[in-house]
């Protein structure tokens, strides 16, 4: 009971602190961190207050302890899944989507033919693709990368195609008056104008990539990797390890997203959504 009360108090305090911080116009990272810490405290209090079994939901303190105790293991899994699987797939998938978007943009025939079919293929749910990819590309990270490629392809393609239409009529007319070639127009006008859209897709794809790589490991993996660890640990009810992996995933994913968002800020500084917070 006292735990639950404490939880409620902490929640109120955290929220108040955040409002205060936001009013001060300061904080930067401080605000989300406070928010997160509040959530964690709430969780801890709930687990203790309601006496939830550790095989259902471990307390954050248990997870932290496990995390500290297994950094070596977590790092090995991280390299296997996030770096080899997700990152490779993200880069390849991004390039592929970008190339297809350009091809579709360049050749109307392809756009009409490929886009509907591409949407169709990309809409294949990865869960179904995962076993097939494992069958084709083997148990190791290559099959994970393949699934990530398929997963990130669609969002990046859709956004890039959309973005390539984003330049305004007058901006295009200007290029026409310079008799700029297709590639020049693309490079100097349409790509810059498309960047806000492309980054939209790239950001969504960061999280998809990590999920994809992890989930794919459920369908076959060497005996390491985040997805492998999660799925086997659930079976062994080592939920503290499961959550430690999830924490790694969350940190890696957020950092990945944050990196892309920073890049976006640098590239699309001119877009109204970046210029001023309205």
């Amino acid at each position: 009971m006292s735990w639950i009360l404490a939880g409620l108090l902490i929640w109120a305090a955290g929220w108040a602190l955040n409002i205060w911080l936001a009013r001060q116009g300061r904080g930067g990272l401080l605000i989300p961190v406070t928010f997160g810490l509040t959530l964690l405290a709430l969780w801890e209090c709930a687990v203790r207050g309601f006496d939830i079994s550790p095989v259902l939901l471990p307390a954050p303190s248990d997870i932290a302890a496990r995390f500290a105790a297994s950094t070596g293991l977590l790092w090995e899994d991280f390299v296997q899944t996030a770096i080899k699987g997700a990152l490779t797939g993200y880069v390849l998938g991004g390039l592929a989507a970008f190339a297809v978007a350009l091809a579709a943009d360049r050749f109307d025939f392809l756009r009409r033919g490929l886009l509907p079919v591409g949407n169709f293929v990309a809409a294949l749910p990865i869960i179904g693709l995962a076993p097939i990819m494992v069958m084709w590309f083997g148990f190791d990270w290559q099959s994970k990368a393949a699934i990530v490629v398929v997963m990130v392809f669609f969002p990046i393609l859709v956004n890039t195609v959309e973005g390539l239409q984003a330049a305004s009529a007058m901006q295009r007319d200007l290029m026409r008056t310079y008799a700029a070639s297709y590639w020049t127009t693309l490079l100097k006008l349409r790509l810059p104008a498309a960047m806000p859209f492309i980054f939209n897709g790239l950001k969504i794809a960061t999280t998809l990539a990590l999920i994809g790589a992890i989930v794919a490991e459920f369908f076959g993996s060497p005996i390491r990797g985040m997805g492998f660890r999660i799925s086997t640990s659930v079976g062994q009810l080592a939920l503290d390890l499961v959550w430690a992996e999830i924490v790694v995933a969350a940190i890696a994913g957020s950092a990945f997203y944050g990196g892309v968002a920073l890049l976006e800020k640098a590239v699309t500084f001119w877009h109204p959504s970046q210029r001023g917070r309205g």
């Binding site: 007058m170 007319d173 200007l174 008056t177 008799a179 810059p192 001119w270």
Partner: protein
């Protein structure tokens, strides 16, 4: 006989819109010779921009023929025969002012050093030196307009198509830029098509003034200027000048129902 730089015959242009067609140009005929300075004047919405866009191959006429430098507008465009100043500034927000002016130079393959000198020169011309590194949204409306003029002057096109380039400028800058433009024109023998709303400006600048009337846009009058090519600013107080201005005003007035 010298070949016409611009030649339009029986031009028609109709826009199809969600509620019916809009006749923007109807039976437009015009010949512009090399080195002419032609001003277009007419009530708002009469088709001046549309006509300029047709010359620039940005709009396809529904009927009739146009040639630019004796070839189709498209070929002329491909040959980079003209510089175009749009009615709105239309700067690319991701480029600085300097970057925007440099854009056509990059596209047309000027050398890096040449680009730099040209950018500097035209920035001086429109008095924006010091703003090279600013982004468009950090400039006032008039400054943006000047940057867009500079952009069109930065490279060497034989034909300049200018759509109300000085609309957002005060009289002093305008006078200054008018002089500069005239000097440039005399020096380079460019052919200039110039849309304006200012009667004195049209008369001061042009060798020929085309008056248009609206819906559907037609040419109602073409006035040859008797003024010499050499024009100091105070030519605007001479009787010849006022005489021409009067004719233009009369022609314009005819296009406005409420003035009759």
């Amino acid at each position: 006989m010298a070949i016409n730089v611009i030649y339009a015959k029986s031009l028609d242009l109709t826009f199809e819109t969600n509620d019916g067609p809009v006749h923007a140009l109807r039976d437009v005929n015009l010949e512009v010779g090399k080195g002419d300075f032609v001003s277009f004047i007419g009530p708002s919405g009469c088709g001046k921009t549309t006509f300029l866009r047709v010359m620039a191959d940005l709009e396809q006429p529904t009927a009739g023929t146009v040639t630019v430098n004796g070839v189709s507008p498209e070929e002329a465009r491909r040959a980079r025969a003209y510089g175009y100043v749009f009615q709105a500034a239309g700067l690319y927000p991701w480029r600085t002012i300097g970057g925007n002016i440099r854009l056509p130079l990059e596209i047309m393959g000027y050398s890096k050093a040449d680009q730099d000198t040209r950018v500097k020169r035209v920035l001086d011309l429109v008095e924006l030196s010091g703003f090279e590194k600013k982004f468009p949204w950090q400039l006032s409306g008039g400054m943006q307009q000047r940057a867009s003029i500079a952009r069109a002057l930065a490279f060497d096109a034989d034909i300049l198509l200018m759509d109300e380039p000085f609309g957002a400028l005060d009289e002093i800058v305008r006078d200054h830029l008018n002089e500069q433009l005239l000097a440039l024109w005399r020096r380079t023998e460019k052919t200039i098509c110039f849309v304006t709303h200012s009667i004195p400006e049209a008369v001061y600048l042009s060798t020929r003034i085309v008056v248009m009337s609206p819906r559907p846009g037609r040419i109602t009058d073409v006035i040859e200027s008797p003024l010499p090519r050499e024009r100091p600013l105070d030519i605007r107080d001479t009787p010849e000048f006022l005489e021409v201005a009067h004719r233009v005003r009369e022609g314009l007035r005819a296009g406005h129902a409420y003035e009759e």
